[in-house]
């Protein structure tokens, strides 16, 4: 089953230290290499910060466009992985390895099974 791992981090104004930045990159590289080696990596991308986000909503046929993310929360969606795992326990093990920190504050990973549609089979 494919699981999407949604990475939520705090967006901070101040720049990260070079060392913290390096550690996070290293962490992602390790997870991606390992997942690739096992042939379970289906996708992984980082996102630009929510300051670059635009939300589109269609209401009664009218398109409304607003600046910013869908929801203003403490932690924002920062990137994702899609991994093919045997079951939730395996997915949770992978999720625990994904770096989520940002400028010293910890984030979290939401693990969501991807719905199996006839097209994806």
């Amino acid at each position: 089953m494919r699981y999407m791992m949604l990475i939520y981090s705090k967006e901070t104004a101040e720049a990260m230290s070079a060392e913290a930045d390096r550690q996070i990159r290293e962490g992602h590289r390790a997870v991606m290499e390992d997942a690739t080696r096992r042939g379970i990596l289906c996708g992984a991308e980082p996102l630009s910060p929510t300051s670059a986000a635009t939300t589109v909503r269609v209401m009664e046929g009218r398109v409304s466009v607003t600046d910013g993310p869908f929801a203003e929360t403490k932690e924002q969606l920062a990137g994702y992985y899609i991994l093919e795992c045997r079951d939730l326990d395996e997915a949770l093990e992978w999720a625990a390895r994904i770096p989520t920190g940002c400028a010293g504050s910890g984030g979290c990973v939401e693990v969501r099974p991807m719905r199996q549609t006839s097209a994806s089979r």
Binding site: L88, D89, L92, V111, P113, Q116, T117, S118
Partner: protein, 416 residues
């Protein structure tokens, strides 16, 4: 059908349904199908047994019939699928083993262990864990669980449906966790079992008979856990702890439904058999020299159980045990109990100081037992007006009728 037969079937359900359903889930890969098959099999038992008499092995009979039902469902499902042209979404039916008929030992203990871990998986919320554990492993019916938790049946059914859907959709595994994950997962299982126990034990509202059932059920589940993983001393400690607490059940509440404190309990009402079993189990656990929170709590309960009269209680030893417990689980409530043990075992003033030091953080300010404990020591010190104020404060913080009556009695006794 005779009343006897109905009782027999009920007791088979209570005792064996956890085992049976665990095996059926392994075969079918689905909680719902397993439950349906088992219900159908019990329904067949009602009619068949009244005609043909009781089989030699009722649980084996139910299991065999339920497995045949599973084969029937699989056949029915295949036919339905063949007729259907296109399915938009895959129906979450697990892969069916092609040879359902092969001899598989249905009653292997591993199945129940797998089921315990699935039901108590941390990806399910605590309420769902409790409901699912009682429903599938505990042999309690949905109405019984609903009554015990003072919930409506639809609410509880909803909870179960959601939990089972999550197991299916997120693919929560039906297996014993690997060695790395095992300690944390076992802790989660023990927590759920103890939660069930306390719900039954400390309950003062609701249908008391059904609630009693929760405590016995928790003890039964802890027995299963202890049986399946006997070399984990915390499993043994949990079973011992619950047996020792439960042994006092009769003495805790008097005929008028009033709460009776440990000090005032009629110790002849304590169940000796449960106490000796609890003490034996605790000794077994402690012999492994891997003390944990449940063993320490059981050791404290054991010191109370061993005391023939309240004056014989070894409060100094209890204070030490609370100190060790606090090292493992630093919480204000444990510190409070430690203070009470000092008051009882060393001297009242030291205990009062200890308790008031904990009170300074303000963390326990809205906790009624903090004020009740403080009041109790002040009463023993004969500082009546301060005791009065503290009891009043405690009274303002609890809505529980039995606890309120107890505090009122204490307040009234100060005047005499």
């Amino acid at each position: 059908m005779t009343e006897d037969l109905r009782k027999t079937i009920e007791s088979v359900f209570r005792q064996e349904s956890g085992k049976i359903v665990a095996g059926l889930i392994r075969i079918s890969g689905s909680f719902d199908l397993a439950e349906e098959a088992m219900q159908d099999a019990f329904a067949s038992a009602l009619s068949d047994w009244s005609e043909l008499g009781l089989p030699d092995n009722p649980a084996g009979w139910i299991t065999a019939v339920a497995r045949r039902k599973l084969v029937d469902y699989a056949r029915r499902e295949r036919t339905r699928r063949d007729k259907q042209d296109a399915l938009t979404y895959e129906t979450p039916v697990a892969a069916w083993p092609s040879d359902l008929g092969v001899e598989a030992d249905m009653l292997v203990s591993d199945d129940r262990l797998r089921l315990i871990f699935t039901c108590c998986h941390p990806a399910l919320n605590e309420e769902a864990q409790v409901a699912l554990t009682l429903r599938t492993l505990g042999g309690l019916t949905t109405p019984e669980i609903a009554r015990a938790f003072l919930l409506s049946e639809p609410t509880l059914s909803q909870r179960l449906v959601r939990a089972k859907a999550k197991i299916q959709q997120a693919r929560i595994p039906y297996e014993v966790p690997n060695a790395d994950a095992l300690p944390a997962r076992l802790a989660s299982v023990r927590k759920t079992i103890y939660l069930v126990f306390n719900e039954g034990y400390t309950a003062t509202a609701g249908d008391s008979l059904v609630r009693r059932e929760l405590s016995s059920e928790a003890i039964r589940l802890a027995r299963v856990l202890h049986e399946l993983i006997p070399d984990d001393p915390e499993n043994t400690g949990l079973l011992a702890l619950m047996l020792l607490h439960d042994s006092r059940q009769q003495a805790r509440v008097n005929a008028e439904g009033e709460l009776v404190t440990l000090e005032d309990q009629d110790r002849s009402l304590w169940k000796r058999e449960q106490i000796s079993e609890g003490l034996l189990l605790l000794d077994q656990a402690l012999a492994l020299h891997r003390a944990g929170p449940y063993q320490l709590q059981a050791a404290i309960a054991a010191l109370h159980a061993r005391a023939a009269t309240p004056n014989d209680t070894d409060w100094r030893e209890i204070a030490q045990l609370y100190e060790r417990l606090y090292e493992l689980q630093p919480s204000a409530v444990i510190a409070l109990n430690h203070g009470v043990a000092i008051a009882m075992g060393v001297n009242l003033d030291d205990g009062l100081h200890a308790i008031e030091r904990i009170g300074q953080s303000g963390e326990l300010d809205s906790y009624y037992l903090y004020h009740a404990a403080r009041a109790d020591i002040l009463r023993r010190l004969n500082r009546k007006s301060e005791a009065y104020d503290a009891y009043r404060r405690a009274l303002s913080l609890t809505a529980n009728a039995v606890e309120r009556r107890y505090l009122r009695r204490r307040i009234a006794s100060l005047g005499s």
